[in-house]
């Protein structure tokens, strides 16, 4: 509201003379489709009157007027003709504008203050009723007022007319002004619905007329808007935090889209969920929570590398605000590179990969950061046993907001505390920095600039120094042509560097490094012509370049410098998709993505004798090639279908997806390590192709607060890479001699029960899944396991996850999580032999046995300070225990010859229960 309405109470009498004087003042107006603010400012500049009005009620008022020296009264009459707007003038030269009612400013009469009965007033929650009087946030009372106001969308007319019109706009958080992603907007009496995108933008096409929109989003209070839809128009919707009422649970509508969307195999994790769950060493980690979702596993405790539905770790496209993170882990996989202070949420697509994404086979993990508080400058931070973090955010000027966050470890210091000399000479540290600026040029154009940088460094026993890090920058420009057509242009640069340096002060000293980088550009359009179709189309281009390995000598070193040829490749894609609402109950999503991949020189290419196994002896020629060396073209069809069952609370979905992957990570170890390099598809190494069919049944209970789902999938993977026995991947210029083509298959069933609201929230999931690989390359003479299918390293048939949080009060909650999984497969010896002075193990078939099963349970308690809004600092504590039962979960099992004897060992990373405590604050 432009000026406080309570000002009314100060006005007691009217004065005829004043009214006459002010209304007869001549004014000049020359405006074309000006809004109310421009209009009143034009008049206020020429007279000494003041207008009072509720600008929300005037948001669809536009005036076109060109007059000179016309008395104010005539100007107002002309402007408000047929609009239902009335004006009143008091003796202080204040002009009150009202809609649909007149106010008589006679003695003793009070103007109608807008008081709406609010359910929040009955709610004894401090946070809700405190109404943030210090800042200019939209108060809950105002939100409630917004619920009861009728918004006129478009150019108001006497009649609604026929046909459909589109309303679009942003759903924003009332406190921070940030866009709310994944909010669901549906219309009473219709099955039409919209979901906000990651910026909070929605577009909804409806028949013209009166509608009630219901807006729901997990963690936010449900709200509604009453609209009169005349023509196309905008509506900005503010939502408030959902303050759990411990006495009543008042949830209606649909909390998530699992039943209604066409997407199969989708999970979203909100950072709020992550922060209340137990952590490892106090580092809240969104990737570790993703590992508790059905269909997502990792090879072991020290690895945040995800295996999604039987896919390898390099088959996940990890996007951080649109930037590809090549190595999203710190400390060799103990922690993910995503700072929980900056992250908003993570979305994981396991089956229906959106057609706008390509370049990886198994999944898309999209981690979004927050836009930053648009209303006031604020910050947050915290300290844990391993690292500290600090984040600042706030507005810059009127249309810009920023967020910058960083984390850094003090583990060097921790290592120094250890007694052993070995650790005193060691160091290990990491950091990461995020920055993001959101600039709204106008209501049609928004620019997002984000940057990410991470670094890891460690040295063991003063010997070799290892360093690696990511660098990413992305610019996005979102342009709304109109309510029906939206575009996003993205351009960015991603890079990963690895380096190790030996410092033994002798001739073996060396420095090894490699890097991979990509430039990417993307243009995406969304077009919603009517309620039936929703088109998505776009173009994308990625230019990859890598230096797979360079070795040089340092200090006294005498290593022969060796530099492997750089690799470069171009990946172009175009896609189109249509989401067709055939009937309100039946939705079909059809899309196709066309992919061109070109491998470019200059590069040395090895030629091999045809039909014989490729190895160093079968090289027939070495050619220096420039320009285009090899091309691959492929189509990726993606289809999904949803049918809502008559009870309207359940649905069935079917999906088919094909994906292609042109770059491959070379890793012949169980877990990926930062040492693993990337290889681009070339003459010998073909792009991987994956096909997946999936079906799902979804049903919600208790006003959608309990979601259940069953999904089943079958997957075929072609041209995945496996490694020959004793493969050498380090500085190997002809990788094709050491790798072999393989075929994979994976299938599984995933069951999930999730409770999204109430005192108790969380989920239970059970997954049965199998993943197999076979080395069926005709050019391999003695393939692993004789060319038969064998279980992949990450094949874990049974997985049970339990995640829960119970809120005892607004300030105290307890989380308990538990995980069980079958042990991963390992290769065990089948016999022994005496060689080189010792008994040794004879290995034959791969992955025939399993390590013992995994079980872990964690507990945490979250204690928050009081919620008084006017406190400068809000602090919270989390204490908990990781691995509560102190079970020694084996991480690997191995057999070694020691002093002539074969000994078996199991190695567990965490040998006991690990307590942690963190302190976090906000201001």
């Amino acid at each position: 509201m432009r000026k406080i309405l309570t000002f009314f109470f100060m006005c007691f009498c009217t004065h005829a003379v004043a009214q006459e004087n002010i209304l007869s003042t001549p004014v000049n107006v020359s405006l074309d489709s000006a809004n109310i603010q421009t209009f009143v400012e034009t008049i206020e500049h020429q007279t000494n009157c003041f207008f009072y009005y509720d600008d929300l009620k005037f948001d669809s008022f536009y005036v076109k007027m060109h007059v000179t020296d016309m008395p104010l009264q005539q100007v107002l009459d002309l402007a408000f003709k047929n609009t239902g707007i009335y004006y009143s003038v008091d003796e202080r030269k204040s002009i009150f504008l009202t809609v649909n009612t007149t106010i008589a400013l006679a003695l003793g009469e009070q103007p109608p203050a807008v008081i709406v009965k609010s359910k929040y007033l009955h709610n004894k929650s401090n946070a809700a009723s405190a109404a943030n009087s210090r800042s200019n946030v939209v108060s809950p009372a105002r939100v409630n007022f917004e619920e009861n106001k009728i918004y006129d969308i478009g150019f108001k007319a006497n009649e609604f007319g026929t046909g459909a019109a589109t309303v679009a706009g942003y759903v924003r958080h009332n406190k921070t002004g940030e866009g709310v992603s994944g909010a669901s907007i549906y219309v009473e009496g219709y099955r039409a619905r919209a979901i906000t995108d990651q910026y909070g933008y929605y577009t909804l096409t409806l028949p013209k007329g009166k509608h009630i929109l219901r807006i729901t989003c997990i963690g936010l209070t449900d709200t509604r808007r009453q609209i009169n839809l005349y023509t196309e128009g905008k509506l900005i919707i503010h939502m408030t935090d959902y303050i759990t009422s411990l006495k009543e649970v008042n949830i209606a509508g649909e909390k998530t889209s699992n039943v209604k969307s066409t997407v199969v195999g989708f999970n979203k994790v909100n950072i709020k969920t992550v922060k209340q769950l137990p952590t490892l060493l106090g580092e809240a980690d969104i990737v570790r929570v993703l590992l508790n979702l059905p269909g997502v596993t990792s090879v072991g405790e020290g690895s945040t590398g995800l295996n999604v539905r039987g896919g390898a770790v390099d088959q996940n496209l990890v996007l951080f605000d649109g930037a590809t993170i090549f190595n999203p882990s710190h400390f060799f996989g103990f922690f993910s590179g995503f700072n929980p202070d900056v992250v908003k949420d993570a979305e994981l697509y396991k089956s229906s990969l959106p057609v706008k994404y390509g370049s990886r086979l198994s999944s898309v993990l999209e981690v979004s950061t927050r836009e930053g508080n648009q209303n006031k400058f604020s910050g947050s931070g915290g300290v844990g046993p391993l690292s500290g973090h600090l984040t600042f955010e706030g507005p810059i000027g009127k249309n810009t907001s920023f967020i910058i966050g960083g984390r850094s470890t003090y583990s060097d210091w921790t290592l120094n505390l250890l007694e052993d000399e070995k650790y005193k000479n060691s160091s290990a540290s990491f950091y990461d920095v995020n920055a993001r600026i959101t600039h709204t040029i106008n209501d049609r154009n928004t620019i997002y600039v984000s940057g990410y940088m991470s670094g890891d460094k460690f040295r063991l026993d003063g010997d070799t120094l290892y360093q690696y890090g990511n660098k990413n920058a992305v610019v996005k420009w979102k342009h709304n042509f109109n309510n029906r057509l939206t575009s996003i242009f993205t351009a960015g640069y991603d890079r990963y560097d690895f380096q190790m340096e030996s410092e033994q002060q002798d001739v073996t000293d060396f420095k090894f490094k490699f890097d991979i980088m990509q430039y990417h550009g993307k243009l995406d359009f969304t077009y919603v012509p009517n309620t039936v179709h929703r088109f998505e189309t776009g173009l994308g281009a990625i230019y990859y370049k890598s230096h797979p390995g360079t070795i040089s000598s340092v200090g006294k070193g005498s290593v022969v410098p060796d530099k492997m040829d750089s690799e470069q490749a171009l990946d172009l894609a175009a896609y189109v998709a249509d989401n067709i609402t055939i009937t309100p109950d039946l939705t079909l999503n059809v899309g196709v993505r066309a992919n061109y991949y070109g491998y470019f020189g200059p590069r040395t290419v090895y030629e091999y004798a045809p039909g014989v196994p490729r190895d160093v002896r079968s090289i027939t020629d070495t050619i220096n090639k420039t320009g285009n060396i090899k091309n691959y073209i492929g189509l990726e069809p993606r289809v999904s279908l949803r049918y809502t069952l008559p009870d309207n609370n359940s649905s069935i979905k079917v999906a088919y997806n094909r994906t292609r992957q042109n770059i491959h990570m070379l890793s012949n170890t169980t877990a990926i390590s930062p040492v693993d390099t990337w290889k681009f598809s070339d003459d010998y190494i073909q792009p991987q192709v994956g096909d997946q069919v999936a079906v799902g049944y979804y049903k919600n209970f208790k006003d959608n607060t309990i979601e259940t789902s069953v999904e089943a999938y079958y997957k075929w993977i072609k041209h995945t890479l496996t490694y020959k026995s004793g493969a050498e991947l380090f500085l190997n210029p002809h990788i094709e001699t050491d790798v072999a083509n393989a075929t994979g298959k994976a299938y599984g069933v995933e069951l999930l029960v999730k409770k999204t609201a109430g005192k108790l929230t969380g989920w239970v999931s059970y997954t049965y899944s199998r993943t197999f690989v076979k080395m069926d390359d005709p050019l391999v003479l003695s393939p692993i396991n004789g060319g038969d299918y064998f279980p992949a390293d990450y094949d874990k048939p049974h997985v049970v996850n339990f995640i829960s949080n119970y809120k005892f009060s607004h300030r105290f909650s307890v989380s308990l999580t538990a995980n069980y999984s079958t042990g991963r497969p390992i290769t065990v010896p089948i016999g022994r032999y005496y060689y080189g002075g010792a008994y040794r193990m004879y290995y034959a078939d791969r992955n025939t046995e399993r390590i013992p099963d995994y079980f872990r349970t964690d507990l945490s308690m979250n204690i928050e300070g009081n919620h008084k809004t006017n406190k400068l600092f809000h602090s919270s504590f989390t204490v908990g225990v990781y691995n509560l039962t102190a079970r020694r979960n084996p991480y690997s099992v191995y057999f070694v010859t020691e002093n002539g004897k074969v000994n078996g060992y199991k190695l567990s990373i965490f040998g006991s229960a690990i307590p942690f405590a963190t302190y976090n604050f906000k201001f």
């Binding site: 072991g300 020290g302 690895s303 400390f331 060799f332 103990f334 290592l415 250890l418 052993d420 650790y423 063991l460 026993d461 010997d463 070799t464 001739v507 060396f510 090894f512 290593v559 022969v560 012949n668 170890t669 169980t670 390590s673 040492v675 004793g726 493969a727 380090f730 500085l731 010896p829 089948i830 016999g831 032999y833 005496y834 060689y835 080189g836 002075g837 040794r840 193990m841 004879y842 290995y843 034959a844 046995e849 020694r888 084996p890 991480y891 690997s892 099992v893 070694v896 002539g900 074969v902 078996g904 060992y905 199991k906 190695l907 567990s908 990373i909 965490f910 040998g911 006991s912 690990i914």
Partner: protein, 388 residues
């Protein structure tokens, strides 16, 4: 370079384990295994004067076999030179086939032929006889209180590149006390033991043989030089370095393929296995069964000249070895009756509790006075090469 992944495992252990308690537990799963009896050919063709070629033939066995080695005996083993000439090997001792002073020129190609008792024919690929440079140094370093013997070598002609070593180690160890005196039950007196007998009881030696695969390469270096390649390590409290240690190192040259094979055997069977280690797989050497080429045969035959070097190390200053074989108490009553009570009929044995040998003590077990009983496999004849 090859140690990279290993260090990563160490870091994980350092972070997760050492901070919160040790996490390596013995694990003996009930592995079925298979009844494999593949032929194992261990050894290499060694060429040159005063060298011995030793090829040991045995059979691989099931995992659970606790039985001793299954030797392949009474086989006919021959070294064959390309373009004519062959040398028969003689079985001595059982399962080991030897030939001495093979006179074959460097770079000639040789192969090994085996005809087993059952007349299965095995043959290795032809491998060149490789020349080998002399060993530069055998020395030791101390790192984190571990005593490590290393070798340095180099080839000025830059042609060797791949090296293998074996060693014969000998260490001296002593009993806890000198047995200076003998108790005579007849007259309840203590008499001096003859000095030579005292020494025989006190000083013992024991031999160590290579039980790990020691290979190194300088393929990535511009100079053909191996620096401080560790051969053997002892913790500071180990008995092997309590008195003195002597090592004789034999150096051989390998081909690149032989190096790869041996290095992989080492990787898969000796080195700490972790999540960042390569997955173990079946390894194929260069020996095949002529009738059945698909039959797995363990081993890789290579041929080389030999150079040797020996070095003696005295007890390092940081050794913390203490002989904790037993304890002794002071003899307070040195009358005849008292001595009889202490020492009569092997109830106890006289020792001296102080370096000045004034304070008489008694210990209960003769094992602590006789080094032969202290460790199995020891001997009390001073080897010729021992410096004192």
């Amino acid at each position: 370079m090859r140690r990279t992944r290993r260090y990563i495992v160490y870091v994980i252990l350092a972070l997760g384990c050492i901070l919160y308690g040790a996490c390596k537990d013995p694990y003996t799963p009930d592995l079925q295994g298979k009844n494999i009896n593949y032929l194992v050919v261990d050894g290499m063709i060694v060429v040159g004067p005063s060298t011995t070629t030793r090829i040991m033939l045995s059979r691989a066995s099931a995992l659970k076999d606790t039985a001793k080695m299954i030797y392949e005996t009474k086989a006919k083993v021959t070294v064959e030179v390309e373009g004519g000439g062959s040398y028969d090997l003689v079985e001595s001792p059982i399962g080991t086939y030897t030939a001495s002073d093979l006179n074959i020129a460097v770079d000639k190609k040789v192969r090994l032929k085996i005809a087993t008792q059952k007349n299965d024919q095995y043959i290795s690929s032809f491998v060149p006889v490789r020349n080998v440079p002399p060993i530069d140094t055998i020395a030791s370093y101390r790192k984190n209180d571990v005593f490590t013997v290393y070798v340095n070598t180099h080839d000025p002609s830059n042609s060797t590149k791949y090296y293998r070593w074996t060693y014969e180690g000998t260490y001296e160890y002593n009993s806890q006390w000198y047995s200076r005196q003998v108790f005579n039950n007849n007259d309840s007196t203590l008499r001096s033991r003859p000095y030579s007998e005292q020494v025989k009881l006190f000083r013992c030696w024991k031999n160590l043989v290579t039980n790990s695969i020691l290979v190194a390469s300088s393929e990535r270096s511009s100079v053909d030089q191996i620096v401080q390649e560790p051969l053997q390590s002892f913790n500071r409290d180990q008995i092997e370095i309590s008195v003195g240690y002597r090592i004789l190192v034999r150096q051989y040259a390998l081909t690149s393929e032989a190096y790869d094979y041996l290095n992989n055997v080492r990787k898969y069977t000796e080195q700490l296995g972790g999540i960042f280690d390569p997955l173990p797989t079946e390894l194929r050497g260069n020996i095949v069964n002529v009738q059945n080429p698909a039959e797995p045969v363990v081993g890789y035959i290579s041929a080389s000249m030999e150079t040797t070097k020996a070095r003696y190390f005295s007890r390092p200053s940081y050794s913390t070895f203490e002989n904790k074989c037993g304890f002794a108490t002071e003899v307070l009553d040195q009358s005849k009756a008292g001595l009889a009570l202490y020492f009569g009929y092997d109830r106890g044995y006289p020792v001296f509790l102080d370096p000045e040998e004034k304070k008489l003590g008694v210990t209960g077990s003769f094992r602590c006075l006789d080094c032969l009983q202290l460790q199995t496999g020891g001997y009390n004849v001073r080897p010729d090469f021992w410096p004192f």
